[in-house]
């Protein structure tokens, strides 16, 4: 097996192996576990770095295993998958550090970290899959590996959330499977190819293809939390903060969004999808999701729930960008995949810090938090402002390209949606900032933990600071080489230029 074909497998193994080993570690072996986790995450980052360099220079990375007759399990690194892989790898490292600090002293840590690593493995698999079957495989694996993380708290509420999560995702998975299979019986292949592989089919199959598209979108839309399939996401907020962070920023919702990107670009092909007339309804659904998610977020008092609804809204940006048929909007959507990830994970880290250090879960209790946790709230502020789309932060870049792309594609209504969403974002984020910074703190916090001179433990503080910094940097240096924006530009060029 050559290096090129082994590399995708190695990338998978770098989290699968630690995950497998961690399951068998006893609860007390904190050091071994930490070292394993961090070593895996670092190794993965290095390998991904190598792969980025290679893909940029046209190296093919592909691993194949026979899975079903005529269908292989294909792991392939192309520009699009690397976008997601890199995001996952970077944020996994951050989240691992955070989780180590967050779960200090709580029970069942081996189980947690084991499933955590498996979850990342599944995410990487989703990103690297080279055909729809492989995608389906890892997509379902992701469902299975995140379930233990959601119910990790072992409370009745958590198990209820787990059940709801499973109800949605398993049903979605089934739909996805049916769609995939149907597609396979029509086309005989499932391999992701630039410009799609369906445009050669007879025109009599068009109505079938539309139906399959609907099936696939329903299957993927569950994880991407499109309206009306988003119900599991706010429920899943009972999970520990690192899990919420990972779920919302990287793994689950992004897997769904990524799948939609794959289906639209590499299965149907954007031009063919536009010919079929399926993109406009998708865009409308995404737009409705954006507005609805923001509106719901406005009425939440629980911080994590508000963030969850914000995720519902924000992930739809990605889909909107894909569904507006045009290169610029595509850039906006794809780059939002990364930008939203970085910003949202920061927000969740901070929410976790606030809950962990001060015992605050409700926004109405957050008065004056900024004075007690200035660094955390600074990170939160940056990410929140980024979410609103203020320049020069990351969110601005995405919104900018989305708006530009929409205008360029002649779909002015999207700009209005974006404007409304920005206003709503401001409406639900700014009051938090206002309360945290400018309102007087209460006499005492609900459940304060002391960390000496620092405001909180450093593993809890460092990750959000780093990701907040990243939010600024990828916004400010958006057109530097190897920035997400440049990389997405690279991807879009290959999709739109035959």
């Amino acid at each position: 097996m050559s290096w090129n074909s082994a590399l995708p497998l190695l990338v998978l193994a770098s989290s699968l192996f630690p995950g497998g080993v961690i399951f068998f570690l006893s609860e007390e072996r904190v050091v071994t576990r930490t070292v394993l986790n961090l070593a895996g995450a670092t190794l993965k980052l290095l390998l991904v770095g190598v792969m980025i360099w290679g893909v940029f220079h046209g190296e093919p990375y592909e691993s194949r295993l026979p899975l079903l007759p005529g269908l292989d399990l294909v792991l392939r690194a192309d520009a699009l998958s690397l976008l997601f892989v890199t995001l996952s790898a970077v944020l996994w490292l951050a989240t691992t550090v955070y989780a180590i600090g967050y779960l200090e002293g709580s029970p069942n840590r081996s189980r947690f970290f084991g499933f955590f690593s498996l979850c990342v493995t599944a995410t990487i698999g989703v990103a690297l899959s080279g055909n729809l079957l492989t995608f389906l495989l890892f997509y379902e694996l992701l469902t299975l590996t995140t379930y233990p993380l959601i119910v990790h708290r072992e409370t009745e509420v958590a198990r209820r959330a787990g059940r709801i999560y499973l109800t949605y995702t398993l049903a979605g998975g089934a739909l996805l499977m049916v769609g995939t299979l149907w597609l396979y019986t029509l086309s005989g292949t499932l391999a992701f190819t630039a410009q799609g592989f369906l445009s050669t089919l007879a025109s009599s199959e068009q109505s079938t293809l539309i139906m399959i598209f609907v099936l696939l979108m329903m299957g993927l839309g569950v994880k991407a939390a499109l309206i009306p399939l988003h119900g599991w996401l706010p429920q899943a907020m009972v999970a520990p903060a690192p899990v919420s962070a990972l779920l919302h920023a990287v793994a689950v919702v992004k897997a769904g969004a990524f799948g939609i990107i794959r289906v639209v670009y590499d299965v149907y092909g954007i031009q063919f999808a536009a010919t079929l007339g399926v993109t406009l309804p998708l865009a409308v659904v995404a737009a409705v999701t954006i507005i609805y998610g923001s509106l719901r977020a406005l009425f939440q008092d629980d911080l994590k729930r508000r963030l969850a609804f914000s995720t519902v809204s924000q992930v739809a940006y990605i889909i909107l960008g894909v569904a507006i048929v045009g290169p610029i909007a595509a850039i906006g959507g794809l780059v939002h995949l990364v930008h939203q990830g970085v910003m949202k994970i920061t927000l969740f880290f901070c929410a976790g810090n606030i809950a962990e250090t001060l015992g605050i879960h409700k926004i109405s209790d957050m008065n004056g938090v900024g004075q007690r946790l200035p660094w955390t709230m600074a990170a939160f502020t940056i990410a929140a402002l980024g979410m609103i789309g203020l320049p020069p932060l990351a969110g601005f870049i995405s919104k900018w390209y989305l708006g530009l792309g929409a205008l360029e594609a002649g779909q002015g209504w999207v700009v209005i949606v974006l404007a409304c969403s920005s206003l709503l974002n401001a409406a639900y984020f700014l009051p938090i900032l206002y309360a945290a910074w400018f309102k007087p703190p209460p006499e005492r916090w609900p459940a304060e933990r002391s960390f000496g001179r620092q405001e909180t433990a450093w593993p809890l503080l460092a990750p959000p600071l780093v990701t907040a910094l990243l939010t600024v940097v990828i916004g400010l240096l958006a057109s530097a080489p190897f920035s997400p924006l440049q990389w997405v530009h690279f991807i879009t060029t290959s999709e739109y230029l035959p």
Binding site: F23, L65, P66, L67, L68, P69, L73, P107, R111, L136, L137, E140, L141, T143, L144, Y147, P148, V151, H152, E154, A158, R159, G162, R163, L166, L170, A171, G173, A174, L175, M177, V178, L181, W182, Y184, T185
Partner: protein, 482 residues
């Protein structure tokens, strides 16, 4: 080496070794464990040898007694029967290891010879190409299975065993009546010759109808499943495992054999009927499973449900459908055995298997819970697992033959089974409030179950080999019923 492999009559070894082992265990009960394990190993090796032979040289017909059909009895191995033999070996070895830890001495003395008899009967059944011989193997199988069920203590196992015995006798008699009619209308009991000589006439249909219903009784297809849940649930854990994994599959194997070989073609409506019953089994079994309060009962009902999947191949009736059903059989056998073993571990550990109280024990048996979950993945048909491959193939067959309604049933069944699996698995994530008395579970029991569960998962990743094996000798030849 290869000379040796081709000169040994593996077919005979496959049947005789377990029988000889049973006799040996009967003669020297104190050495039972050792003898049984050696025998299990030997049988597995023979099956391996046979597979090699078949893979290299294609389907094999073996004339016992040198007379050949119609006078004598033939043994026939093709991909279909070989696959069944392999499943039996895989599950058999695991069950042997598991049972070693499970039974105390007095019951082990009874268990080993019975189990080896059952194994021998299974192997003989899968090899046989003669319907009267099939009747005898069915009886051998049935009696061994009934006795094994009755090995458990208490009133419930005994009455379930009694019911099971009556059902299996009835089934055999119906089958035998069919055999009699077929013999008298064609003058042979060899399947291949029957296939040549029979044409669709009322006699043949009456005979086939009797045989089908006899086999359905033994396979416990809805609505004839009434005996299964209690028998499987009340048997000792290794016995439950092998009943669910293998015994019900044996009669299904005969059914599939008959359907493929001697049923008149164009029996589309009958296929739809069987498919309908299968679909009903799938839904009914899963719904009943949801309702259960005892773990083993739940798993037993899930067997009822999963058997429904197998029957969905009949209406689809194309190669993909058959392959899918067989793959389902394969993965269900392995996963369900693992699941019953896990349930056995839980039962032994906590002394009960009431689902609502599982939270007290599940956390201390992480391996067992893992086993249950992995087996559950396969049973739900989530990737990567054998169940997924099977469901994929069945669904593909449904779509390709434009019978989408079976696809709907398939998907629905998978979702329903997910509900009860996660109902159980959910208890793994409950803090255990009350420490209580526990009985240690030997490592061999936990690991053998886990090994099976992992095999079920691996079936999803390495499906090409079993799929290729099934095709040896083209058992589904010209596309089954189409």
């Amino acid at each position: 080496m290869s000379v040796l492999i081709f000169s040994i009559h593996w077919q005979v070894m496959v049947v005789l070794l377990p029988l000889a082992g049973a006799i040996a265990c009967f003669l020297w009960p104190r050495r039972g464990v050792m003898l049984a394990l050696v025998c299990a190993l030997g049988t597995t090796l023979s099956v391996a040898g046979l597979s090699w032979l078949v893979v290299v040289e294609g389907a094999q017909r073996y004339t016992v007694g040198g007379w050949g059909a119609p006078l004598g009895i033939d043994l026939y191995v093709d991909g279909l029967s070989l696959l069944m033999l392999i499943v039996t070996s895989v599950v058999g070895v695991a069950i042997s290891v598991y049972a070693n830890g499970y039974f105390e001495r007095s019951r082990a003395r009874a268990f080993w010879p019975l189990w080896l008899f059952l194994w021998g009967a299974l192997n003989a059944l899968f090899l046989s190409a003669d319907i009267f011989n099939l009747y005898i193997t069915l009886e051998l199988l049935g009696l061994a299975a009934v006795t094994l069920v009755a090995l458990a203590k208490g009133a419930q196992p005994l009455s379930s065993a009694m019911r099971y015995l009556l059902v299996t006798l009835l089934g055999s008699l119906l089958f035998l009546l069919g055999v009699a009619l077929l013999y008298h209308s064609s003058g042979s009991v060899d399947i291949a010759i029957l296939a040549e000589r029979l044409s669709a006439s009322p006699v043949v249909w009456i005979a086939l109808g009797l045989m089908v219903v006899g086999l359905l009784l033994k396979t416990a297809l809805f609505p004839l499943h009434f005996w299964l849940p209690q028998a499987h649930a009340s048997a000792p854990a290794p016995v439950s495992a092998l009943l669910s994994a293998l015994v019900v599959k044996a009669s299904f194997y005969i059914l599939i054999r008959l359907w493929l070989e001697i049923f008149p073609p164009n029996n589309f409506v009958l296929g739809q009927l069987l498919g309908l019953l299968g679909a009903a089994a799938l839904l009914w079994g899963n719904l009943q499973a949801l309702r259960q309060t005892r773990l083993k009962m739940l798993i037993a009902y899930s067997t009822v449900a999963q058997l429904g999947y197998l029957f969905l191949a009949f209406p689809l009736a194309n190669i993909i459908g058959w392959t899918g059903a067989l793959y389902m059989l394969l993965s269900h056998a392995i996963a369900k055995a693992a699941m019953f073993m896990a349930a056995g571990n839980i039962l032994r550990f906590g002394g009960h298997d009431s689902i609502a109280d599982l939270d007290r024990i599940v956390q201390r048996l992480p391996l067992t819970v893992t086993t249950f979950a992995l087996a559950g993945v396969s049973i739900m048909g989530l990737p990567p697992s054998g169940g997924f491959v099977a469901k994929w193939l069945l669904l593909e067959a449904a779509i390709r033959s434009a019978q989408w309604w079976w696809g709907v049933v398939l998907v629905l069944g998978g979702l329903l089974s997910a509900v009860w699996i996660f109902k159980v698995v959910g208890y793994a994530f409950t803090p255990s409030p009350v420490p209580h008395e526990v009985r240690a579970v030997p490592a061999s029991m936990e690991w053998s179950a886990l090994a099976l569960a992992l095999t079920a998962i691996a079936l999803g990743l390495f499906s090409s080999w079993p799929l290729a094996l099934m095709m040896v000798g083209l058992p589904f030849g010209e596309g089954g019923g189409s």
